[in-house]
């Protein structure tokens, strides 16, 4: 891993799913720059896509006039991804457990679970101008990160 730390990359994206490809391409660029490769890069990418899809679908309700904020940064020891939307906000604590037997065959409700599984820490907060802000962190030094999937 290099000591190169260029500071966060910040994007404002229209609420369109096509923009997930752009965001993932930027993430891959940052990962390669910072020596994050293989499975870690893949699982961080999955978490990023879940976060952005959540912001577009549930935060901004698919309104392309509303934007999604993305920041990819952190330091030598940690990758930090922040995703914000311009929606009404939501209460993540009331989300159903996707592992509960009664939820197993539901067609939705797994996105946040995957983010928690593939990242080391995720936290929701209210944005200064409203909306929801999601902060995800990945420890780049932990031996447990040799494989991206960890127990939720």
């Amino acid at each position: 891993m290099t000591d190169f730390s260029p500071g966060p990359i910040v994007l404002w994206l229209a609420s369109r799913y096509e923009n997930l490809e752009l965001a993932e391409a930027v993430l891959v660029h940052v990962c390669r720059q910072r020596g994050i490769e293989g499975e870690n890069e893949h699982w961080i990418g999955v978490a990023l896509r879940e976060a952005l899809a959540n912001a577009i679908k549930h935060g901004n309700r698919g309104n392309p006039d509303k934007r999604v904020f993305l920041s990819i940064g952190g330091d030598r020891d940690e990758l930090k991804i922040v995703v914000g939307d311009e929606g009404e906000g939501f209460e993540p604590d009331v989300l159903a457990d996707p592992l509960a037997p009664e939820n197993q065959l539901k067609t939705s409700g797994r996105g946040i679970f995957y983010m928690k599984t593939f990242m080391d820490d995720i936290a929701f907060s209210r944005g200064e101008a409203g909306g929801t802000v999601l902060t995800m962190r990945k420890n780049l030094n932990a031996e447990s990160n040799a494989k991206g999937v960890k127990s939720a």
């Binding site: 899809a53 539901k106 679970f113």
Partner: protein, 114 residues
């Protein structure tokens, strides 16, 4: 990689081959449309070949679960084949790997329908 879905028959089994990403706004709806079309066309033995799937997200997983439920309600069987490790991991952490019948190769998968 652009998502594509192709289908072929192996006896009375409809094999649905997925290629690329099965993610929101990309392959999730294509997969659902292909599976629903097969069921609507009378197929009752469905085998989803995932060996060329590069990524699946919660939306893709949700559609897969929805297709499984639809197939079951229609009296059809939907099984999965040739899951790449990363796709298997995504299904494993949500314990869905125990819901689906999963096979490593086509021969065993086809034999399971007999």
């Amino acid at each position: 990689m652009k998502t594509t879905v192709t289908t072929r028959d192996a006896g009375d089994v409809k094999i649905i081959e997925l290629h690329g990403k099965i993610t929101i706004g990309a392959g999730d709806l294509q997969m659902r449309e292909a599976i629903h079309a097969a069921i609507a066309g009378g197929a009752r033995k469905l085998l989803v070949d995932m060996k060329d799937v590069s990524t699946i997200d919660s939306s893709g997983v949700g559609e897969l679960v929805g297709c499984y439920t639809t197939a079951t309600h229609k009296g059809a069987k939907l099984k999965l084949m040739s899951l790449p490790p990363k796709i298997s991991d995504v299904l494993t952490v949500t314990q869905l790997i125990t819901v689906f019948d999963v096979y490593t190769d086509e021969k065993d998968a086809l034999a399971s329908f007999a």
